[in-house]
Amino acid sequence: MEKKTSVVKLFMIPIVMFGFGYLMVPIYDVFCDITGINGKTGRVSASQAASLEKQQERTIKVEFTSTVNQDGSWDFAPDMPTMVVHPGEPYTTTFTARNKLDEQLISQSVPSVAPSKAAAHFNKTECFCFVEQKFAAFEERAMPLTFIIDPDIPEDVDIVTLSYTLFTKPHNG
């Protein structure tokens, strides 16, 4: 009898651990979100953004870069390479993408912020990366992005780089 129960218990371990493997996915996301380790940026509502204290005396330089993952089906670049901004104030800029193929494509852009300690303080109220962007054949379009830097951003950060990687969604339509 005793043997039977211990074997059942033992079989529970692999079942639980199989589940734990899957549990690592949300844990990973939450962990990266809290620590900003993965360069994941924050998202705030416009009203939250409006309530932030504006720091006119402090300036931070924001650099924009872009990458297209793998294939040559896109042109993708920031319209302004850099901006000088004040923490607590919202700014809007655009990235322009062009579908180089004679077919409809769906893009998904993934942001990353460096240095990572700035990532948690780099918030967006609106971003083309929030949703998939559908492009008709050869369509070219500027995609907007509104961001606001949290005044709590560490003192020693004076340059923040925001990078976007553009992926083609593999399953069209």
Binding site: K3, G21, S116
Partner: protein, 527 residues
């Protein structure tokens, strides 16, 4: 409870094995299954070894000589998978099957039918894995670590790879559960946990590592499968996933896995050295605690395999410190082995030679591991031949030598015949010389910057590669001697005594050589 286990076996009409081939298919006897595991492992050792020789033949000279780069990459991938899942793990499970019941005084494994099942999955899994080489696009070529997105670009071999990993995982989980159940339930009366032989202890801990981590690997490869065929995006950035996450999940399995490949080796060496030093093992309790500490630490060091993915400094420091901490319990073990030999009446029969070779060369591999543990240095060494040299030192003159030592040590018990001592010693010296010719130069290649997993290289690496390849062929051919020694001992030879070795202690030596088909139907009493 123990009485029941004995009764269950008494209502058989006969006590010998079945006749013919079906004996091996239907057997639930731990000794038969142990033998099957060991023979399977030996066969796979030569399959994986042949792949290694393809790699070393191609690397004998710069330029592309024999195989195209894609096939070369298939060889590196398959060599690793076969050596890990087809050779070292089954060999340890085979030794556990043979030895654990008779070391703890049990009549058989706790779950004999599951035991049969967990072995017979293996040949199917291995066939499917090797079969990938013959499908469209060839075998998996993205490395045994199966990193996405590269592995997802594999051809028809990809789902076969995933399913064979699933099967191998199921087999080893069942094997491990069986081992834990045997150790917990079937020890002879009076054998407390702290009286168990160290091979039993190290396997007890290893089995828990297996049960806890193989399912995580199964989960990770299942995510790969659904990413490729069912439009999930666990590791696809376009869908909101992250390929780096695969590396975290994989190495959460992968690092405990490397201790699965070495802890039983620690147990084997801890059995052999006291026998031939004719002294009890120095620091038995510290050995047990050291093994448990290594197992615990193995769960919190995984990211040292991925220092270069762009982790924050705090994370790198944590994983560096935790990794270096493992050197402490490992050092305890090495010092205990040396202290056991200190002022012992040592003799140097083949098992002892392999065990001493293990202690020295495993320590070399451990020290290069310590170098790799240092984050700033790892940035230089990452993905170079230095890493290759490191893990081959701990796996070949480490794990493989311990398995060979165990076979020589227990072969007279299994077969009832002494093996050919002269050939055994020749096998040891040839293996030791060639394994160093093979892997030592790879340290220099790595330090000089030669990347791993490449079929061609810059000419300045030519000399060391040539030396290494000569060592590889020498080592590979020397292993044929091992086959000769083993089969000679199976077929005949001087009758072994029950005791076999003068200084041997433990329940297995109280049985006849070879032991009866069913042993310990009445459990011995341990004082």
């Amino acid at each position: 409870m123990n009485a029941h286990a004995v009764d269950a076996h008494d209502d058989h009409d006969h006590h010998g094995p079945d006749k013919g081939l079906m004996r091996w298919v239907r057997t639930t006897n731990h000794k038969d299954i142990g033998t099957l595991y060991l023979l399977f492992s030996l066969l796979m050792f030569f399959v994986g070894g042949a792949m290694a020789l393809v790699i070393r033949a191609e690397l004998f000279q710069p330029g592309l000589q024999f195989v195209d780069p894609n096939f070369f990459n298939q060889m590196t991938t398959m060599h690793a998978l076969i050596m890990i899942f087809g050779v070292v793990m089954p060999a340890f499970v085979g030794l556990a099957n043979w030895m654990l019941p008779i070391m703890v005084g049990a009549p058989d494994m706790a779950l004999p039918r599951m035991n049969n099942f967990s072995f017979w999955i293996l040949p199917f899994a291995a066939t499917m894995l090797i079969g990938t080489l013959f499908v469209e696009g060839g075998g998996p070529a993205a490395g045994w670590t199966m990193y996405p997105p590269l592995v997802l670009q594999g051809g028809k071999s990809f789902p076969m790879l995933i399913f064979s990993v699933h099967l191998l995982g199921i087999s080893s989980i069942m094997g491990a559960i069986n081992i834990v159940a045997t150790i917990m339930n079937l020890r002879a009366p009076g054998m407390t946990y702290m009286k168990m032989p160290l091979f039993v202890w190290t396997w007890f801990i290893t089995a828990y590592l297996l049960i806890a981590t193989m399912p995580v690997l199964a989960g990770a490869v299942t995510m790969l499968l659904t990413d490729k065929y069912f439009a999930t995006s666990f590791f696809s950035a376009a869908g909101g996933g992250d390929p780096v996450m695969f590396q975290h999940i994989f190495w959460f399995f992968g690092h405990p896995e490397v201790y699965i490949l070495i802890l039983p080796a620690f147990g084997i060496v801890s059995q052999i050295i006291p026998t031939f030093a004719r002294k009890p093992l120095f620091g038995y309790a510290s050995m047990v605690y050291a093994t448990a500490s290594i197992a615990f630490l193995s769960f919190i060091v995984w990211a040292h395999h991925m220092f270069t993915v762009g982790m924050p400094v705090v994370g790198e420091l944590f994983f560096m410190m935790a990794t270096m901490l493992i050197a402490v319990p490992t050092g305890v073990k090495v010092f205990n082995w040396v202290s056991t030999m200190w002022r012992g009446s040592m003799t140097f029969e083949t098992p002892m030679l392999f065990a001493i070779g293990f202690v020295i060369m495993f320590t070399i591999g451990g020290l290069s591991g310590l170098m790799l543990a240092m984050t700033p240095i790892d940035f230089q060494y990452h993905d170079t031949y230095f890493v290759v040299a490191h893990f081959h030192y701990v796996l070949v003159p480490g794990a493989v030598f311990s398995i060979v030592a165990a076979v020589y040590y227990w072969l007279p018990k299994w077969t009832g015949h002494m093996y050919d001592e002269k050939l055994g010693r020749l096998h040891f010296w040839l293996s030791t010389i060639f394994v160093n010719v093979l892997f030592w130069p790879q340290h220099y290649l790595g330090l000089a910057g030669m990347p791993r997993r490449i079929p061609d290289y810059a000419v300045q690496f030519a000399d060391f590669n040539m030396i290494s390849s000569i060592g590889a062929f020498g080592f590979g051919l020397s292993q044929l001697l091992f086959v000769v020694v083993v089969f000679k001992a199976i077929r005949g030879g001087q009758q072994a005594t029950d005791q076999v070795w003068e200084g041997a202690e433990g329940l297995e030596w109280t049985l006849s050589s070879p032991p009866p088909y069913h042993s310990f139907s009445v459990q011995p009493e341990i004082k």
